[in-house]
């Protein structure tokens, strides 16, 4: 990081703002974990999260998410379910037990805190480490100074950015909760599926269908909006893929004939 980046007062001020938000979110996570009875893990999450914020670790959000997963997962239940999944008697999957959870308030607070931490930490990284991935086409720099990272300009921080963040947290948390509970409204009684198992299957199905559908729509819209050059390129690529060997054979002999003719001319 260049010296000018560190010394920029705008950047320092913005970075402090996001550091504060991330620390507050981390404290909330700590409280929720403490309430869940995970004293040791809550301390580890708090400590490592605070270090990640202070030193702007790029791995900070991923680290906190994984620690959260480690602390809140019932591993005995997980391995039991895994065993059921890989068992040849797959029908046992459908006898899924009920969910373990906390009070709705705890769940809401944890979801919002984790989201706030992730957003704040990533924005902090964009401000102080890099906003764009390094260009892979550029050769690795030699002994000279490394090219400066591309950062988000601190002057571009908008006044209402924090306000948007404050709106974002309940919005996405609300959508997630609504989705989860909306799935429970439609129940089926196939093969003795428990409601939780049905929700899980529905979630997986919706995620898969959503991905495939989005991919298909984006691809179709991309082709619809293609320019003339892009359309010609695409069609030419398709022709080449279908008739690659035939065309190569013809062009190969044409090229050989031309090269031989040239050699004869030069020989004479």
């Amino acid at each position: 990081m260049s010296q000018s980046v560190v010394d920029d007062p705008n950047r320092s001020s913005a970075a402090r703002r996001y550091q504060l938000i991330a620390l507050l979110a981390l404290l909330l996570i700590f409280v929720v974990l403490l309430e869940s009875g995970e004293e040791m893990m809550s301390l580890i999450v708090l400590l490592l999260g605070a270090v990640a914020i202070a030193f702007r670790w790029a791995i900070g959000p991923a680290l906190v998410l994984l620690l959260l997963m480690l602390s809140l997962t019932d591993w005995r239940q997980l391995f039991r379910n895994l065993e059921r999944l890989i068992s040849p008697r797959a029908s046992r999957l459908f006898y899924w037990d009920g969910m373990t959870g906390a009070t709705p308030l705890t769940e809401v607070v944890l979801a919002m805190a984790v989201l706030a931490f992730v957003i704040a930490q990533y924005r902090l990284l964009s401000l102080t480490r890099n906003a764009f991935p390094p260009d892979g086409r550029r050769p690795t720099p030699g002994p000279g100074p490394a090219p400066p990272p591309q950062l988000r300009d601190a002057r571009l921080l908008e006044e209402n950015e924090i306000a948007f963040l404050a709106v974002t947290l309940p919005l996405w948390t609300g959508i997630a909760f609504f989705f989860w509970f909306a799935m429970s409204l439609y129940r089926v009684d196939w093969f003795g599926l428990t409601p939780e198992a049905w929700r899980i299957l529905l979630t997986i199905w919706l995620a898969g269908a959503g991905l495939i559908g989005t991919r298909a729509i984006v691809g179709y819209l991309g082709l619809r909006r293609a320019t003339e050059a892009e359309a010609r390129l695409y069609l030419q690529d398709q022709i080449w893929r279908q008739t690659r060997r035939e065309q190569a054979r013809i062009d190969h002999w044409l090229t050989r004939a031309r090269m031989r003719a040239q050699q004869r001319e030069e020989g004479t």
């Binding site: 994984l66 997963m69 984790v114 989860w180 690659r244």
Partner: protein
């Protein structure tokens, strides 16, 4: 579109959700869902911006000096470039980094050609910097590279707003040293641009007196002399014709070859521009003829400012020409062209429309025929498809043929062949199972090894395919153009050179072809130059100066057409000068370096340099000798300053034309 940060986030969230679902923890599931929905929302917003806003971006470019916008630039002068990026719709881009692609020929760039900011309707983003070009040529501003990211750095999109602006960089303005001497050498100095000719004409200076002839205008009668001689005597006046100079500038590939200190063509352009401007200031007529291997481009002698500017523009465009050679290994150009195409044509290099399928990178190889000697690895790589197919099918075919031969040999009729052939094949395969197995495994192992260790070749093949597709569409080669360029190395090489030259991307070419022949001799230009010179002589008036700024070194055995044309010029009382370009960095003719004997124990680079110096010196001496026989001076372009020499010759033509 996803950055590494985004992928890591997805991976962690996936683990979180999976653990929540399998561990049946509602806390984790709801947290994971919240993160997932937020991520999908951000992705959707980003995709909408990338798909709907970025293609509509428009830019306005303004190149100006202190007096306002300009349409052509001057070498060694600084100009301000101001690029403004507009977004027409109501959607905005909250965080973009734009970078103007500065022309490769720019010598000095003051200021930052990048800008960071937000682009809204009515709030454009502006990039401002100053640029200066050191030599004449063409400045091509390709457009603006746009990088877009979200606030968190999870998504990334790169685009290029193409709007090519091509401006000519005219040669530098001549300083005082380039101008002609203004001291009055002769008592009767005719007006600039006018040359007195000792022939009867309509000038103002008296040439001679002669007897009156019927029809002579009465106003030319010299009355006092007539009274003294007692017969009518008529005054004859000198003829006054303008001094003309025609410059023949060599723009063939031989002078376009780049060196460490620029090209020989740049020096020729500088000389020609200096002469044109100096002659224009003295109101002398100057013509220009640019020639290369194919033909000429001519501007008739003129002195009007508009024509002078047009001639300087012709020189600028000639200075931007890139060398072309037909037999160049395209692998030397593919990395450069691919990097440039990815930057400037990201829309046409997208994997969704222009990609090499992954299975083809392992199986397909091209070209099938090539001229240059290939290494063993490259040879095997280009034959790997045949290796694969040969290993799988050649062995059964071989067995079948041997079995058929055996059956025919034993005299079995064709009716039983259908039944017996598979049987015989099976028997043969069983009998020779080990040799056949070793053969098949050997061939396939060779294929696998070749494929595995040829990472660079695979990468080059992938780039070559994507470039070939782009070139085939750009140059409208038809549906079969892609396959043609993949198979024909010479064609691909020529199109790559054309692509790079059109965008004024500097590139280097090997000087020698696969047979060790120098590729840039361009002997065809001698005939072109001779024809152009004869045409100029035919259209010329008396006492013209023809300056041949041409690389004729090592062409002394093919100069006969040109020498004939020069003789014609001299016979018509014109003057001819030859100015020979000299490779930058080589000692001038007459210097001692390289004149000595080559020592066998000298290091190779020194020996090569000494041999090169000697070759050029000997070539120049031969050229000087050939033209010296005709009385035509040959001057080295790098030595002294040829512009004053040409102007001196013009002065001599002006004042002493009759002493010729």
């Amino acid at each position: 579109m996803l950055t590494a940060r985004g992928w890591w986030f997805i991976l962690c969230n996936f683990f979180l959700l999976a653990a929540g679902l399998l561990g049946q923890s509602r806390l984790l599931i709801l947290t994971g869902f919240t993160l997932m929905f937020w991520f999908c929302g951000e992705a959707l917003l980003f995709a909408v911006r990338a798909c709907l806003v970025v293609p509509r971006l428009r830019l306005v470019r303004l190149v100006q000096d202190e007096r306002g916008p300009v349409t052509s630039l001057w070498a060694e002068r600084s100009f301000e470039v101001r690029v403004t990026l507009h977004v027409p719709g109501f959607l905005s881009l909250p965080f973009v980094v734009v970078k103007d692609l500065v022309p490769f020929q720019a010598g000095e760039v003051v200021g930052d050609p990048t800008a960071t900011g937000r682009v809204d309707l009515g709030r454009p983003l502006t990039v401002t910097y100053h640029v200066q070009f050191n030599a004449a040529g063409v400045a091509r501003f390709e457009g603006l590279a746009v990088q877009m990211a979200d606030w968190q750095g999870l998504f990334y999109h790169a685009a290029f707003v193409r709007q090519a602006v091509v401006l000519r960089v005219l040669p530098r303005l001549v300083d005082d040293r380039g101008r002609r001497a203004t001291s009055k050498r002769y008592n009767l100095l005719p007006p600039p641009g006018i040359h007195r000719l000792r022939r009867p004409g309509s000038g103002s200076e008296l040439l001679d007196l002669r007897d009156y002839l019927p029809g002579d205008p009465p106003k030319t009668i010299a009355w006092k002399v007539s009274a003294r001689r007692d017969k009518l005597i008529t005054k004859e006046f000198e003829s006054e014709v303008p001094v003309r100079c025609t410059l023949f500038v060599d723009t063939s590939s031989s002078v376009r070859v780049p060196a460490a200190r620029g090209t020989a063509l740049a020096r020729l352009i500088d000389i020609a521009a200096g002469v044109i401007q100096a002659n224009s200031s003295a109101r002398d007529l100057t013509g220009l003829c640019l020639f290369d291997e194919q033909g000429t481009s001519t501007a008739r002698p003129d002195r009007s400012p508009a024509r002078v500017t047009a001639m300087l523009g012709m020189l600028a465009e000639a200075a931007a020409l890139a060398p072309t050679a037909g037999r160049v290994d395209p692998d030397t150009l593919v990395p450069l062209a691919h990097a440039f195409a990815q930057e400037v044509y990201p829309d046409l290099m997208r994997p969704s429309i222009n990609a090499m399928p992954w299975y083809l990178t392992w199986v397909a190889a091209f070209p099938g025929a090539w001229r240059r000697r290939a290494s063993a690895l490259r040879y095997l790589f280009r034959r790997k498809e045949k290796l694969l197919i040969g290993g799988l099918f050649a062995v059964p075919i071989l067995v079948a043929m041997v079995a058929m031969g055996f059956l025919f040999y034993t005299g079995i009729s064709l009716r039983h062949l259908e039944l017996l052939l598979p049987l015989a094949m099976l028997v043969m395969m069983w009998v020779f199972r080990w040799p056949l197995l070793v053969l098949v495994i050997g061939i396939e192992m060779l294929f696998i090894l070749t494929t595995l260790i040829s990472g660079r070749e695979r990468r080059l093949a992938r780039w070559r395919k994507r470039l070939a597709a782009l070139l085939a569409v750009r140059y409208a080669l038809g549906p079969g153009g892609l396959a043609l360029l993949l198979e024909d190395e010479d064609q691909l090489s020529l199109y790559l050179q054309r692509f790079l030259a059109e965008h004024h991307v500097p590139y280097t070419l090997p000087l020698y072809d696969e047979a060790g022949r120098y590729q840039f001799t361009s002997p065809e230009k001698v005939d072109v130059l001779a024809t152009a010179l004869l045409r100029s002589i035919g259209k010329g008036h008396d006492n013209e100066l023809f300056v041949l700024l041409a690389d004729l070194l090592e062409l002394d055995d093919r100069l006969e057409p040109l020498l004939k044309a020069v003789r014609v010029a001299l016979g018509r009382h014109h003057q001819v000068m030859v100015i020979c370009p000299w490779p930058p960095g080589l000692p001038l003719p007459g210097k001692t370096e390289g004149a000595g004997r080559l020592s066998p124990s000298a290091p190779l680079p020194l020996s090569v340099r000494a041999a090169t110096v000697r070759r050029f010196h000997e070539g120049f001496a031969r050229l000087k000798r050939v033209f010296g026989r005709l009385g035509v001076p040959v001057i080295c372009a790098a030595g002294g300053d040829p512009v004053p020499l040409i102007l001196e010759r013009m002065e001599r033509l002006r004042g002493l034309g009759w002493k010729r």
